[in-house]
């Protein structure tokens, strides 16, 4: 076993952490015992930072200070239209940041999206450290294949703030394919990954041969996911209500959060049921009529109708990518479904229709991505595996040229790492600087593409126009991250390039955020009293666990279910307090648990004596 490394699926709604242990990829359960951690961060009224299930649970009562789906804001520019649309749906307050980026207001503090994501990552890191009993500093983090350079950088920054060295950013569908192909026979096959997560959609075609995973083409939509399906249900519920009572529930943050929960629940249930009832009592109140309740029925057919365009958008992306990969749908060896939203029967039906086959069943849609990331980590750091990933860049990279046009320098679906160069010539006499605008996208007009940054070439030699040739080199790393350097071709000197941050955090801001996160973590660790209680709690949990089989038998033989249920309730309260680090409350719970344990042991002895 070499260095510890974890794989993290940092999702829009949920996150998962995994590692390769003794050659087997394994999901790391979090400290509350679950394999999935909601990507939710909240500031409780007492100023405490809550992450995961705890944050999610209190979202209804604290919607303004609960951050959900922050992934949709990662690496986005405040002025972009898509950003403004995404903000409309957020119950928390999003404001403009200093670099045309977005910031989230929580109480007096403002946080950038990477800082919020870092809180989720820190939580997962602590879970992993509890699992290994040792510090963990290295991670592979996944992002949607369709993420552009700024979104990838934002993800990397989040890792750094959480004190993790991000050894690689890999694409979610590729990662899922790694998990699928791990340990499989060395044969040659072609697979497609259909990845519809909480916030993004990706479709990727891969070719596997002797442990090499070659991505042939990838495409997607970074603003299409399960949340959009939920939003349709929210509209379906709130629109008739608005017409009847004149109140738009979507404007009431608390009501919106309840609607959101109800919509998600209904959506999930409709994957197995044909019809569900939605009941939201006391959702609002009016002065004349008093309290108002929301009651509705939603059928699977209705849901399919109102989301038909979303499903269609997915299928269009599939067809386009298949064309780019020059593959016929029916020719693929397997289709993998990844992401919770692929549980929707309609999507499975459409996938079956397009590919003419059943999707692969041996892939867990929630866990495959994290498992694949942990495999990639092991591939890089421990060279036991004879595997290699050849991924591609999802967007073309180029520069703005005269006339508002876009000149491609690296085409999309090019295998990374890759580099290309372009020679610039001065256009004026004694020109000493030149501005180069780097863009990502497919449009021929530069304004329609995503601006990555503007680079100033400075300190050029003073010479007549056309006499200075500058070779500008564009690199895309294996992470899909872009870097630029320049050389004066006549003198061979490297030019200094200054990057004006177009979105996201500056180096200083990242360092500062990482320091304050580190302080927070130290604060969590310092309390020796809490450490004692934690150890005692874990000891108690283990004792209950070993006793449990005997207790269940005893319950059938006269002891009854009631003491077991009480013990279970007390245990889950204590687990919660432990995770929430409520030291004093935990002490009380522990005393109660100890009393219960004694009483139960006594009861067991008595029943054995009697038998």
């Amino acid at each position: 076993m070499g260095e510890l490394v974890i794989g993290i699926d940092l999702g829009t709604t949920n996150s998962v952490c995994a590692t390769v242990q003794n050659g087997t990829p394994t999901v790391i359960s979090n400290r509350t015992g679950y394999r999935i951690t909601p990507s939710v961060v909240a500031m409780a009224r007492n100023g405490k930072r809550l992450v995961g299930a705890l944050a999610r649970r209190q979202a209804v009562t604290n919607p303004e200070r609960t951050v959900v789906a922050v992934k949709r804001l990662m690496g986005r520019r405040w002025s972009a239209k898509t950003t403004q649309e995404a903000i409309q749906r957020m119950p928390y307050s999003v404001v403009a940041g200093p670099h045309d980026d977005v910031r989230i207001s929580l109480g007096e503090q403002q946080y950038s999206p990477p800082e919020i994501s870092a809180m989720v990552l820190t939580e997962l890191r602590l879970d992993a450290e509890a699992f290994f009993g040792a510090p963990v500093t290295k991670a592979v983090i996944t992002c949607p294949a369709y993420f552009n350079d700024s979104q990838r950088n934002a993800t990397k920054d989040a890792g750094r703030i959480a004190g993790l060295e991000v050894i690689r950013i890999i694409n979610e569908p590729t990662s899922a394919a790694l998990a699928y192909g791990f340990g499989k026979a060395q044969g040659e096959r072609q697979v497609a990954v259909f990845d519809l997560g909480g916030g993004t959609f990706d479709f990727t075609v891969l070719h596997m041969f002797k442990g090499v995973f070659e991505v042939e083409a990838t495409g997607g939509d970074s603003l299409l996911g399960g949340e959009d399906f939920d939003n349709r249900i929210i509209d379906f519920l709130s629109e008739p209500f608005r017409q009847k009572h004149g109140t738009d529930l979507r404007k009431d943050k608390m009501a919106l959060q309840r609607l959101r929960d109800a919509a998600e629940k209904a959506k999930c249930e409709l994957s197995s049921l044909k019809q569900v009832e939605i009941n939201l009592p006391f959702i609002s109140a009016s002065q004349q009529a008093g309290p108002l309740h929301l009651q509705a029925t939603l059928s699977r057919d209705q849901l399919e109708q109102m989301t038909a365009d979303l499903v269609k958008r997915c299928m269009q992306v599939c067809e386009r990518v298949l064309g780019e990969a020059k593959v016929h749908a029916a020719q693929l060896g397997d289709v993998l479904l990844v992401g919770g939203q692929t549980r929707m029967p309609k999507i499975q039906e459409e996938v079956r229709r397009l590919f003419g086959k059943e999707p692969a069943k041996n892939v867990n849609p929630d866990e495959a991505v994290a498992l694949g990331a942990s495999i990639q980590g092991a591939m890089l750091l421990h060279d036991e595996q004879e595997m290699l990933l050849l991924d591609v860049t999802p967007h073309s990279l180029g520069i703005a040229i005269a006339g508002g046009f876009f000149q491609k320098i690296i085409a999309k679906n090019t295998t990374v790492p890759t580099s290309a160069h372009h020679v610039f010539t001065t256009v004026k006499d004694d020109q000493t600087s030149a501005k180069i605008t780097v863009l990502q996208g497919e449009s021929e007009t530069s304004a329609d593409n995503e601006l990555l940054g503007e680079f100033m070439l400075t300190g050029l030699r003073a010479a007549p126009r056309g006499a200075v040739d500058i070779d500008v080199i564009f690199d895309i790393s294996a992470d899909g991250i872009v870097s630029v350097s320049a050389i004066d071709m006549q003198t061979g000197t490297r030019q200094s390039i200054t990057v004006t941050a177009s979105s996201g955090l500056t180096e200083d801001e990242i360092k500062k955020a990482a320091r304050s996160n580190e302080d927070w973590m130290l604060g969590q660790k310092e309390d020796p009293e809490f450490q004692d209680r934690k150890n005692r709690a874990e000891e108690l949990f283990r004792e209950f666990e070993t006793l449990w089989p005997r207790l269940t038998r005893a319950a059938h033989n006269g002891l009854g279910q009631e003491p077991l249920q009480r013990a279970q309730a007390a245990l889950s309260v204590a687990r919660l307090q432990l995770a929430q680090r409520e030291s004093d409350a935990l002490a009380g719970s522990l005393e109660r648990l100890e009393r219960m344990l004694q009483a139960l042991r006594g009861a067991l002895e008595r029943s054995q004596g009697g038998a």
């Binding site: 070719h207 070659e214 750091l381 294996a478």
Partner: protein, 295 residues
């Protein structure tokens, strides 16, 4: 590995794509891909992640990129054909022989395909629909194997048999577009390569081919204009520069070139119009101002 890298370095640019991938020049698509994937396993930077590679590190990444661009070119029928004809003289004796074999067997296959299609085209009555479907499926199969030209032939025959079948026409249009695009791209690339080697006449031919396949290609028009200027063919240069200006009226470089050409041909009025248009968009363009003053 170090020896291998040093050998590669020693051969440098003389190494053909086939030699680099370690396949013979008549290898099929599948063989080329498998060779690339196997080689990647050793050359990809990830295979050497966090290992001491010293001065070999940059070489590894350079040769991995050479490898993947070689694969990119050889994996498309059109760009591979262009590569073969451009680099025929650089291929080894055995590879040239292999190339001839491949061309022969392709010609043979094409001949057989053509005869088959002709036979099928003679089908009468309702059977024509069935024959069309067969040819359509054959076309799909060819397209999947990367044999676009054969696919297009099959689909054209299918269309003749059953002109009302929409999917045949759609697939055909798609393939023809793809073919034109691939041809334009490879012609543009070979134009640039020739221009760099200052073989201007050949470069103009390549740029013209690129323009013919993609009439919206500003880069092809500009390239041809540049090369025509270099080989002092003012007439051709004027035609190409006008096309470039038409395609991208706001490009200062194209307008500047065109005004100079008009001026040297003595067409002062037209030169003045061009310069006026240029300056209305870029009022600070020094060159244009200077040229206008001399007029």
């Amino acid at each position: 590995m170090q020896n291998e890298l040093q050998q590669l370095e020693a051969r440098g640019d003389r190494l053909t794509h086939y030699e680099l991938l370690g396949v013979s020049a008549d290898a099929d698509g599948g063989t080329i891909r498998r060779a690339y994937l196997e080689k990647s396993k050793r050359f990809h930077p990830d295979a050497w992640y966090r290992k001491e590679t010293g001065r070999f590190g940059p070489l590894l990444s350079k040769w991995f990129q050479r490898l993947s661009s070689a694969y990119q070119i050889l994996s498309d029928e059109e760009s591979r054909a262009a590569y073969d004809s451009d680099h025929r003289t650089e291929l080894s004796q055995t590879d040239r022989a292999a190339l001839d074999r491949r061309e022969l067997s392709r010609a043979e296959e094409e001949r057989r395909g053509r005869e088959r299609r002709e036979r099928m085209l003679r089908t009468k009555g309702f059977a024509r629909i069935g024959a069309a479907r067969k040819l359509y499926e054959e076309g799909q199969e060819y397209a999947l194997n990367g044999e676009r030209t054969q696919a297009i032939f099959a689909l054209k025959a299918a269309r003749e048999l059953d002109p009302n079948r929409k999917e045949i026409v759609t697939k055909l249009v798609e393939l023809e577009r793809e073919q034109a695009r691939a041809r334009a791209n490879s012609a543009l690339a070979s134009g640039r390569e020739r221009e760099e080697r200052r073989r201007f006449a050949e470069a103009i031919t390549a740029y013209a081919a690129a323009f013919q396949n993609d009439p919206g290609s500003f880069a092809a028009a500009m390239g041809a204009a540049r090369c025509a200027m270099e080989s002092s063919d003012a007439r051709a240069a004027t035609i190409w520069a006008s096309r470039a200006v038409e395609l991208n009226p706001e490009d200062a470089g194209a307008r500047m070139m065109l005004s100079r050409l008009f001026l040297s041909a003595g067409m002062k009025a037209r030169a003045r119009t061009e310069l006026g248009a240029l300056l209305s968009k870029n009022p600070d363009h020094k060159e244009a101002k200077a040229l206008l003053r001399t007029l």
